[in-house]
Protein backbone atom coordinates (compact mmCIF):
# COMPACT_ATOMS: atom_id res chain seq x y z
CA UNK A 1 0.00 0.00 0.00
CA UNK A 2 1.27 3.44 -0.86
CA UNK A 3 2.52 5.64 1.94
CA UNK A 4 0.06 8.31 2.93
CA UNK A 5 0.82 11.91 2.06
CA UNK A 6 2.50 13.89 4.82
CA UNK A 7 0.64 16.15 7.20
CA UNK A 8 0.57 19.77 6.25
CA UNK A 9 3.23 20.55 8.79
CA UNK A 10 5.39 17.53 8.21
CA UNK A 11 8.92 18.32 9.20
CA UNK A 12 11.14 18.69 6.20
CA UNK A 13 8.29 19.59 3.88
CA UNK A 14 7.06 22.91 5.14
CA UNK A 15 10.48 23.69 6.52
CA UNK A 16 12.00 23.27 3.08
CA UNK A 17 9.14 25.05 1.38
CA UNK A 18 9.74 28.03 3.59
CA UNK A 19 12.79 28.82 1.50
CA UNK A 20 11.31 27.53 -1.74
CA UNK A 21 12.57 29.35 -4.75
CA UNK A 22 15.45 31.12 -3.06
CA UNK A 23 18.06 29.12 -4.93
CA UNK A 24 16.49 29.05 -8.39
CA UNK A 25 18.70 31.02 -10.76
CA UNK A 26 17.13 34.26 -11.89
CA UNK A 27 15.13 33.82 -15.06
CA UNK A 28 15.36 30.03 -15.04
CA UNK A 29 12.42 27.85 -14.17
CA UNK A 30 12.88 24.25 -13.18
CA UNK A 31 11.21 23.11 -16.38
CA UNK A 32 13.91 24.82 -18.42
CA UNK A 33 16.81 23.06 -16.74
CA UNK A 34 18.29 20.18 -18.68
CA UNK A 35 18.91 16.87 -16.96
CA UNK A 36 22.49 17.70 -15.98
CA UNK A 37 21.46 21.02 -14.45
CA UNK A 38 18.57 19.38 -12.68
CA UNK A 39 20.86 16.70 -11.23
CA UNK A 40 23.24 19.40 -10.03
CA UNK A 41 20.33 21.28 -8.46
CA UNK A 42 19.18 18.14 -6.66
CA UNK A 43 22.69 17.45 -5.41
CA UNK A 44 22.79 21.01 -4.06
CA UNK A 45 19.42 20.27 -2.42
CA UNK A 46 17.87 23.22 -4.21
CA UNK A 47 14.24 23.58 -3.18
CA UNK A 48 11.83 22.35 -5.81
CA UNK A 49 14.46 20.50 -7.81
CA UNK A 50 13.23 17.05 -6.85
CA UNK A 51 9.68 17.95 -7.69
CA UNK A 52 10.83 19.21 -11.09
CA UNK A 53 12.52 15.90 -11.80
CA UNK A 54 9.44 14.06 -10.60
CA UNK A 55 7.21 15.94 -13.03
CA UNK A 56 9.67 15.38 -15.86
CA UNK A 57 9.70 11.61 -15.40
CA UNK A 58 6.46 10.81 -13.60
CA UNK A 59 4.59 9.55 -16.66
CA UNK A 60 7.44 7.36 -17.78
CA UNK A 61 7.97 5.85 -14.34
CA UNK A 62 4.29 5.44 -13.56
CA UNK A 63 3.49 4.12 -17.05
CA UNK A 64 6.23 1.55 -16.77
CA UNK A 65 5.06 0.50 -13.32
CA UNK A 66 1.47 0.32 -14.49
CA UNK A 67 2.29 -1.91 -17.41
CA UNK A 68 4.61 -4.21 -15.48
CA UNK A 69 2.74 -4.70 -12.23
CA UNK A 70 -0.78 -3.58 -13.11
CA UNK A 71 -2.97 -0.77 -11.80
CA UNK A 72 -3.40 -2.24 -8.34
CA UNK A 73 0.26 -1.86 -7.41
CA UNK A 74 1.47 0.77 -9.89
CA UNK A 75 1.36 3.70 -7.48
CA UNK A 76 3.25 1.81 -4.81
CA UNK A 77 5.90 0.72 -7.31
CA UNK A 78 6.22 4.21 -8.78
CA UNK A 79 6.64 5.60 -5.28
CA UNK A 80 9.33 3.07 -4.51
CA UNK A 81 11.04 3.88 -7.81
CA UNK A 82 11.13 7.61 -7.08
CA UNK A 83 12.45 6.99 -3.58
CA UNK A 84 15.25 4.89 -5.09
CA UNK A 85 15.88 7.63 -7.64
CA UNK A 86 16.15 10.41 -5.08
CA UNK A 87 18.23 8.33 -2.72
CA UNK A 88 20.55 7.26 -5.52
CA UNK A 89 20.93 10.60 -7.29
CA UNK A 90 23.71 11.94 -5.05
CA UNK A 91 25.82 9.00 -6.24
CA UNK A 92 24.72 9.23 -9.88
CA UNK A 93 27.89 9.68 -11.94
CA UNK A 94 26.36 10.16 -15.34
CA UNK A 95 27.81 7.00 -16.85
CA UNK A 96 24.42 6.45 -18.49
CA UNK A 97 21.80 8.94 -19.55
CA UNK A 98 19.61 10.03 -16.65
CA UNK A 99 16.54 8.65 -18.39
CA UNK A 100 18.19 5.24 -18.81
CA UNK A 101 19.23 5.22 -15.17
CA UNK A 102 15.71 6.19 -14.09
CA UNK A 103 14.19 3.49 -16.27
CA UNK A 104 16.56 0.98 -14.70
CA UNK A 105 15.51 1.90 -11.17
CA UNK A 106 11.84 1.87 -12.17
CA UNK A 107 12.15 -1.52 -13.83
CA UNK A 108 14.06 -2.87 -10.84
CA UNK A 109 11.41 -1.57 -8.46
CA UNK A 110 8.68 -3.16 -10.54
CA UNK A 111 10.45 -6.47 -10.94
CA UNK A 112 11.41 -6.58 -7.26
CA UNK A 113 7.79 -5.98 -6.44
CA UNK A 114 6.70 -8.80 -8.68
CA UNK A 115 9.38 -11.05 -7.26
CA UNK A 116 8.18 -10.32 -3.77
CA UNK A 117 4.59 -10.87 -4.77
CA UNK A 118 4.82 -13.82 -7.05
CA UNK A 119 8.34 -15.17 -6.85
CA UNK A 120 8.84 -14.25 -10.48
CA UNK A 121 12.25 -14.19 -12.07
CA UNK A 122 14.02 -10.96 -12.94
CA UNK A 123 14.41 -11.82 -16.57
CA UNK A 124 11.92 -13.98 -18.33
CA UNK A 125 13.36 -17.05 -19.90
CA UNK A 126 11.66 -19.25 -22.41
CA UNK A 127 10.39 -21.46 -19.64
CA UNK A 128 8.71 -18.41 -18.10
CA UNK A 129 5.71 -18.61 -20.30
CA UNK A 130 2.86 -18.27 -17.88
CA UNK A 131 0.95 -15.01 -18.02
CA UNK A 132 0.58 -12.94 -14.87
CA UNK A 133 -2.75 -14.00 -13.58
CA UNK A 134 -2.89 -11.37 -10.87
CA UNK A 135 -2.11 -8.46 -13.17
CA UNK A 136 -4.37 -9.92 -15.79
CA UNK A 137 -7.21 -10.07 -13.32
CA UNK A 138 -6.86 -6.42 -12.35
CA UNK A 139 -6.59 -5.27 -15.95
CA UNK A 140 -9.54 -7.38 -17.00
CA UNK A 141 -11.63 -5.60 -14.45
CA UNK A 142 -10.75 -2.17 -15.83
CA UNK A 143 -12.20 -1.75 -19.33
CA UNK A 144 -15.56 -3.28 -18.54
CA UNK A 145 -16.34 -0.47 -16.11
CA UNK A 146 -17.58 1.84 -18.85
CA UNK A 147 -18.17 1.39 -22.55
CA UNK A 148 -15.35 2.60 -24.73
CA UNK A 149 -15.27 2.92 -28.46
CA UNK A 150 -12.98 3.08 -31.46
CA UNK A 151 -9.32 3.73 -30.74
CA UNK A 152 -9.91 3.43 -27.04
CA UNK A 153 -11.21 -0.11 -27.50
CA UNK A 154 -8.18 -1.05 -29.51
CA UNK A 155 -5.80 0.50 -27.00
CA UNK A 156 -7.53 -1.29 -24.17
CA UNK A 157 -7.29 -4.61 -25.97
CA UNK A 158 -3.65 -4.02 -26.80
CA UNK A 159 -2.95 -3.15 -23.17
CA UNK A 160 -4.78 -6.28 -22.12
CA UNK A 161 -2.77 -8.36 -24.53
CA UNK A 162 0.45 -6.88 -23.14
CA UNK A 163 -0.59 -7.88 -19.65
CA UNK A 164 -0.98 -11.45 -20.77
CA UNK A 165 2.66 -11.62 -21.71
CA UNK A 166 5.12 -13.10 -19.24
CA UNK A 167 6.78 -10.39 -17.16
CA UNK A 168 10.12 -10.44 -18.96
CA UNK A 169 8.55 -10.30 -22.40
CA UNK A 170 6.24 -7.56 -21.27
CA UNK A 171 9.11 -5.54 -19.81
CA UNK A 172 11.20 -5.64 -22.96
CA UNK A 173 8.29 -4.92 -25.28
CA UNK A 174 7.13 -2.00 -23.13
CA UNK A 175 10.63 -0.57 -23.05
CA UNK A 176 11.20 -0.96 -26.79
CA UNK A 177 7.85 -0.64 -28.52
CA UNK A 178 5.91 1.52 -26.07
CA UNK A 179 8.65 3.68 -24.58
CA UNK A 180 10.77 3.71 -27.71
CA UNK A 181 14.10 2.78 -26.12
CA UNK A 182 16.99 1.36 -28.14
CA UNK A 183 18.29 -2.14 -27.49
CA UNK A 184 21.52 -0.71 -26.08
CA UNK A 185 19.53 1.17 -23.45
CA UNK A 186 17.37 -1.85 -22.70
CA UNK A 187 20.45 -4.02 -22.31
CA UNK A 188 21.84 -1.47 -19.88
CA UNK A 189 18.58 -1.33 -17.96
CA UNK A 190 18.10 -5.08 -17.77
CA UNK A 191 21.84 -5.75 -17.46
CA UNK A 192 21.84 -8.20 -20.31
CA UNK A 193 23.45 -8.42 -23.73
CA UNK A 194 22.06 -6.43 -26.64
CA UNK A 195 21.49 -9.70 -28.46
CA UNK A 196 19.43 -10.98 -25.55
CA UNK A 197 17.30 -7.86 -25.61
CA UNK A 198 16.68 -8.29 -29.33
CA UNK A 199 15.84 -11.97 -29.15
CA UNK A 200 13.53 -11.38 -26.16
CA UNK A 201 11.75 -8.63 -28.06
CA UNK A 202 11.21 -10.72 -31.14
CA UNK A 203 9.89 -13.61 -29.09
CA UNK A 204 7.69 -11.25 -27.12
CA UNK A 205 6.21 -9.83 -30.31
CA UNK A 206 5.53 -13.30 -31.65
CA UNK A 207 3.70 -14.13 -28.43
CA UNK A 208 1.83 -10.83 -28.53
CA UNK A 209 0.65 -11.56 -32.05
CA UNK A 210 -0.73 -14.86 -30.87
CA UNK A 211 -2.57 -13.21 -27.99
CA UNK A 212 -4.03 -10.53 -30.24
CA UNK A 213 -5.12 -13.18 -32.69
CA UNK A 214 -6.85 -15.09 -29.93
CA UNK A 215 -8.61 -11.85 -29.01
CA UNK A 216 -9.79 -11.47 -32.60
CA UNK A 217 -7.88 -8.29 -33.30
CA UNK A 218 -7.19 -7.93 -36.99
CA UNK A 219 -4.25 -6.36 -38.68
CA UNK A 220 -6.63 -3.96 -40.37
CA UNK A 221 -7.94 -2.83 -37.01
CA UNK A 222 -4.45 -2.09 -35.79
CA UNK A 223 -3.51 -0.32 -38.99
CA UNK A 224 -6.64 1.77 -38.96
CA UNK A 225 -6.59 2.31 -35.21
Amino acid sequence: MAVKPPQATMFGVTAVRAIEGLLVPAGASRAELDDAELIAAIKRIDPGSREALYHRYKKRVYGLALRIVGPGDAEEVAQEAFIRIFRGLPKFRGDAALSTWIYRLAVNAALSHRTRRAGARLLTRDSDSQPDAQVDKTIEAQPAAEPIQGDAVLRARLERALVRLPTGYRTVIVLHDVEGLEHEEIASILRCHVGTSKSQLHKARARLREILAADGITAEALQNG
Binding site: H55, E75, Q79, I173
Partner: protein, 236 residues
Protein backbone atom coordinates in the same frame (compact mmCIF):
# COMPACT_ATOMS: atom_id res chain seq x y z
CA UNK B 1 -6.96 -11.93 -41.46
CA UNK B 2 -6.29 -12.22 -37.73
CA UNK B 3 -2.92 -11.24 -36.39
CA UNK B 4 -0.66 -14.11 -35.58
CA UNK B 5 -1.93 -16.48 -38.18
CA UNK B 6 0.80 -19.02 -38.63
CA UNK B 7 2.77 -19.17 -41.80
CA UNK B 8 3.53 -22.39 -43.56
CA UNK B 9 6.60 -21.18 -45.37
CA UNK B 10 8.90 -21.81 -42.42
CA UNK B 11 10.01 -18.18 -41.99
CA UNK B 12 10.46 -17.57 -38.26
CA UNK B 13 8.40 -14.82 -36.63
CA UNK B 14 11.55 -13.60 -34.85
CA UNK B 15 13.28 -13.04 -38.18
CA UNK B 16 10.32 -11.08 -39.47
CA UNK B 17 10.31 -9.00 -36.26
CA UNK B 18 14.00 -8.26 -36.67
CA UNK B 19 13.33 -7.32 -40.27
CA UNK B 20 10.66 -4.84 -39.21
CA UNK B 21 13.13 -3.22 -36.81
CA UNK B 22 15.90 -3.13 -39.39
CA UNK B 23 18.01 -5.39 -37.20
CA UNK B 24 19.00 -7.80 -39.96
CA UNK B 25 22.17 -7.48 -41.95
CA UNK B 26 21.73 -6.10 -45.47
CA UNK B 27 22.08 -9.55 -47.00
CA UNK B 28 19.61 -11.10 -44.52
CA UNK B 29 17.17 -8.27 -45.11
CA UNK B 30 17.43 -8.75 -48.85
CA UNK B 31 16.72 -12.45 -48.42
CA UNK B 32 13.57 -11.69 -46.39
CA UNK B 33 12.44 -9.09 -48.93
CA UNK B 34 12.90 -11.51 -51.78
CA UNK B 35 11.05 -14.22 -49.86
CA UNK B 36 8.18 -11.91 -48.88
CA UNK B 37 7.74 -10.80 -52.48
CA UNK B 38 6.82 -14.36 -53.32
CA UNK B 39 5.07 -15.24 -50.02
CA UNK B 40 1.73 -13.53 -49.33
CA UNK B 41 1.67 -14.84 -45.76
CA UNK B 42 4.99 -13.25 -44.86
CA UNK B 43 3.95 -10.03 -46.56
CA UNK B 44 0.91 -9.98 -44.30
CA UNK B 45 2.96 -10.92 -41.25
CA UNK B 46 5.33 -8.02 -41.87
CA UNK B 47 2.37 -5.69 -42.23
CA UNK B 48 0.87 -7.06 -39.01
CA UNK B 49 4.06 -6.64 -37.06
CA UNK B 50 4.51 -3.13 -38.37
CA UNK B 51 0.95 -2.28 -37.39
CA UNK B 52 1.38 -3.83 -33.94
CA UNK B 53 4.59 -1.93 -33.24
CA UNK B 54 3.03 1.30 -34.49
CA UNK B 55 0.00 0.75 -32.28
CA UNK B 56 2.25 0.05 -29.27
CA UNK B 57 4.21 3.24 -29.93
CA UNK B 58 0.89 5.08 -29.91
CA UNK B 59 -0.03 3.95 -26.40
CA UNK B 60 -0.09 6.92 -24.10
CA UNK B 61 1.93 7.38 -20.98
CA UNK B 62 -0.68 7.56 -18.26
CA UNK B 63 -0.83 10.43 -15.79
CA UNK B 64 -0.08 9.18 -12.28
CA UNK B 65 -2.62 9.84 -9.54
CA UNK B 66 -2.16 13.20 -7.79
CA UNK B 67 -1.44 11.43 -4.52
CA UNK B 68 1.85 10.04 -5.86
CA UNK B 69 4.07 13.10 -5.40
CA UNK B 70 2.91 13.85 -1.84
CA UNK B 71 3.52 10.20 -1.01
CA UNK B 72 7.05 10.32 -2.45
CA UNK B 73 7.80 13.63 -0.76
CA UNK B 74 6.48 12.39 2.55
CA UNK B 75 8.44 9.16 2.36
CA UNK B 76 11.62 11.07 1.58
CA UNK B 77 11.01 13.49 4.44
CA UNK B 78 10.61 10.60 6.83
CA UNK B 79 13.68 8.89 5.44
CA UNK B 80 15.82 11.99 5.75
CA UNK B 81 14.60 13.07 9.17
CA UNK B 82 17.61 14.01 11.29
CA UNK B 83 18.72 11.39 13.76
CA UNK B 84 17.84 13.52 16.73
CA UNK B 85 14.19 13.40 15.69
CA UNK B 86 14.34 9.65 16.06
CA UNK B 87 15.23 9.87 19.73
CA UNK B 88 12.62 8.24 21.90
CA UNK B 89 11.73 9.52 25.27
CA UNK B 90 13.79 7.58 27.77
CA UNK B 91 14.69 5.29 24.90
CA UNK B 92 17.32 2.62 25.21
CA UNK B 93 19.17 3.46 22.00
CA UNK B 94 22.69 4.67 21.64
CA UNK B 95 21.94 8.09 23.00
CA UNK B 96 24.67 10.55 23.55
CA UNK B 97 23.62 11.03 27.13
CA UNK B 98 23.64 7.36 27.87
CA UNK B 99 27.07 7.07 26.37
CA UNK B 100 28.28 9.97 28.41
CA UNK B 101 26.77 8.53 31.57
CA UNK B 102 28.45 5.20 30.88
CA UNK B 103 31.77 6.86 30.25
CA UNK B 104 31.52 8.84 33.46
CA UNK B 105 30.45 5.77 35.41
CA UNK B 106 33.53 3.96 34.17
CA UNK B 107 35.63 6.99 34.96
CA UNK B 108 34.26 7.17 38.47
CA UNK B 109 34.90 3.49 39.06
CA UNK B 110 38.46 3.95 37.93
CA UNK B 111 38.86 7.05 40.04
CA UNK B 112 37.45 5.35 43.14
CA UNK B 113 39.80 2.39 42.63
CA UNK B 114 42.65 4.81 42.29
CA UNK B 115 41.54 6.68 45.41
CA UNK B 116 41.15 3.46 47.41
CA UNK B 117 44.77 2.57 46.82
CA UNK B 118 46.08 6.05 47.56
CA UNK B 119 47.32 7.04 51.05
CA UNK B 120 44.58 8.75 53.13
CA UNK B 121 46.54 11.39 54.93
CA UNK B 122 44.21 14.35 54.48
CA UNK B 123 40.94 12.92 53.09
CA UNK B 124 38.82 16.07 52.66
CA UNK B 125 41.48 18.13 50.98
CA UNK B 126 42.62 15.17 48.88
CA UNK B 127 39.15 14.52 47.38
CA UNK B 128 39.02 18.05 46.05
CA UNK B 129 42.52 17.90 44.64
CA UNK B 130 42.11 14.43 43.11
CA UNK B 131 38.69 15.26 41.60
CA UNK B 132 40.07 18.18 39.70
CA UNK B 133 43.38 16.60 38.80
CA UNK B 134 42.32 13.07 37.80
CA UNK B 135 42.47 12.92 34.00
CA UNK B 136 39.88 10.17 33.72
CA UNK B 137 37.34 12.06 35.76
CA UNK B 138 38.05 15.25 33.88
CA UNK B 139 37.57 13.40 30.61
CA UNK B 140 34.28 11.98 31.82
CA UNK B 141 33.09 15.41 32.91
CA UNK B 142 34.02 16.73 29.48
CA UNK B 143 31.89 13.97 27.93
CA UNK B 144 28.96 15.08 30.04
CA UNK B 145 29.43 18.66 28.99
CA UNK B 146 29.76 17.67 25.33
CA UNK B 147 26.60 15.56 25.42
CA UNK B 148 24.70 18.37 27.12
CA UNK B 149 25.90 20.81 24.47
CA UNK B 150 24.75 18.43 21.71
CA UNK B 151 21.31 18.24 23.29
CA UNK B 152 21.20 22.02 23.57
CA UNK B 153 22.08 22.42 19.90
CA UNK B 154 19.39 19.96 18.86
CA UNK B 155 16.86 21.80 20.98
CA UNK B 156 17.94 25.09 19.48
CA UNK B 157 17.39 23.78 15.93
CA UNK B 158 14.01 22.39 16.82
CA UNK B 159 12.99 25.64 18.47
CA UNK B 160 13.89 27.48 15.27
CA UNK B 161 11.75 25.09 13.24
CA UNK B 162 8.94 25.39 15.73
CA UNK B 163 9.07 29.17 15.46
CA UNK B 164 8.21 28.81 11.75
CA UNK B 165 5.30 26.54 12.45
CA UNK B 166 3.74 28.30 15.41
CA UNK B 167 2.21 31.21 13.49
CA UNK B 168 -0.08 28.69 11.76
CA UNK B 169 -1.46 27.49 15.05
CA UNK B 170 -4.45 28.75 16.95
CA UNK B 171 -3.82 30.94 20.04
CA UNK B 172 -4.96 28.08 22.26
CA UNK B 173 -2.47 25.70 20.66
CA UNK B 174 0.34 28.20 21.05
CA UNK B 175 -0.54 28.75 24.70
CA UNK B 176 -0.59 25.02 25.33
CA UNK B 177 2.80 24.68 23.68
CA UNK B 178 4.29 27.54 25.70
CA UNK B 179 2.99 26.04 28.92
CA UNK B 180 4.41 22.62 28.13
CA UNK B 181 7.78 24.06 27.16
CA UNK B 182 7.91 25.98 30.45
CA UNK B 183 7.34 22.73 32.36
CA UNK B 184 10.09 21.02 30.41
CA UNK B 185 12.47 23.93 30.98
CA UNK B 186 11.78 23.73 34.72
CA UNK B 187 12.55 20.01 34.64
CA UNK B 188 15.81 20.67 32.84
CA UNK B 189 16.82 23.41 35.26
CA UNK B 190 16.11 21.19 38.28
CA UNK B 191 17.96 18.26 36.74
CA UNK B 192 20.91 20.47 35.90
CA UNK B 193 21.19 21.53 39.55
CA UNK B 194 21.16 17.87 40.59
CA UNK B 195 23.76 16.96 38.00
CA UNK B 196 26.09 19.71 39.15
CA UNK B 197 25.80 19.14 42.86
CA UNK B 198 28.92 16.97 42.77
CA UNK B 199 31.51 16.13 40.11
CA UNK B 200 30.68 13.05 38.05
CA UNK B 201 27.16 12.60 39.39
CA UNK B 202 25.92 9.94 36.97
CA UNK B 203 22.42 9.81 38.43
CA UNK B 204 21.99 13.58 38.19
CA UNK B 205 23.31 13.63 34.63
CA UNK B 206 21.06 10.75 33.63
CA UNK B 207 18.10 12.76 34.84
CA UNK B 208 19.33 15.84 33.02
CA UNK B 209 19.70 13.95 29.75
CA UNK B 210 16.30 12.37 30.18
CA UNK B 211 14.86 15.85 30.57
CA UNK B 212 16.64 16.97 27.41
CA UNK B 213 15.28 13.95 25.54
CA UNK B 214 11.80 14.71 26.80
CA UNK B 215 12.02 18.23 25.46
CA UNK B 216 13.44 17.06 22.13
CA UNK B 217 10.67 14.50 21.78
CA UNK B 218 8.07 17.15 22.50
CA UNK B 219 9.57 19.67 20.07
CA UNK B 220 9.92 17.04 17.36
CA UNK B 221 6.31 16.07 17.76
CA UNK B 222 5.17 19.68 17.74
CA UNK B 223 7.16 20.42 14.57
CA UNK B 224 5.96 17.20 12.98
CA UNK B 225 2.33 17.32 13.98
CA UNK B 226 1.70 21.01 14.36
CA UNK B 227 -0.81 22.25 16.90
CA UNK B 228 -2.29 18.79 17.29
CA UNK B 229 0.69 17.58 19.34
CA UNK B 230 -0.15 15.28 22.17
CA UNK B 231 -3.42 14.15 20.67
CA UNK B 232 -2.41 10.63 19.76
CA UNK B 233 -1.00 9.21 16.56
CA UNK B 234 -2.15 10.65 13.27
CA UNK B 235 -4.52 8.49 11.27
CA UNK B 236 -2.80 6.19 8.80
Amino acid sequence: MAIGSSTTCGQSPETLSAFVDGDLSPSQAQTVRAHAAACPQCTISIAELTAMVTAARGLERPEPPPSLWPAVEGAMARHERPWWLSLRLFGSGALAGAVAVSVVALGLASWRTHRATAPLVAPVAQVTVVASADPLLNEAEAEFASAAAAYERSIEKLRALLAREEPRWSPAERARCTERLAQLDDAIATSRQLAHRSPGDTVGNEQLFAAYQQKIAFLAEAVHRGGTFGEGDPPR
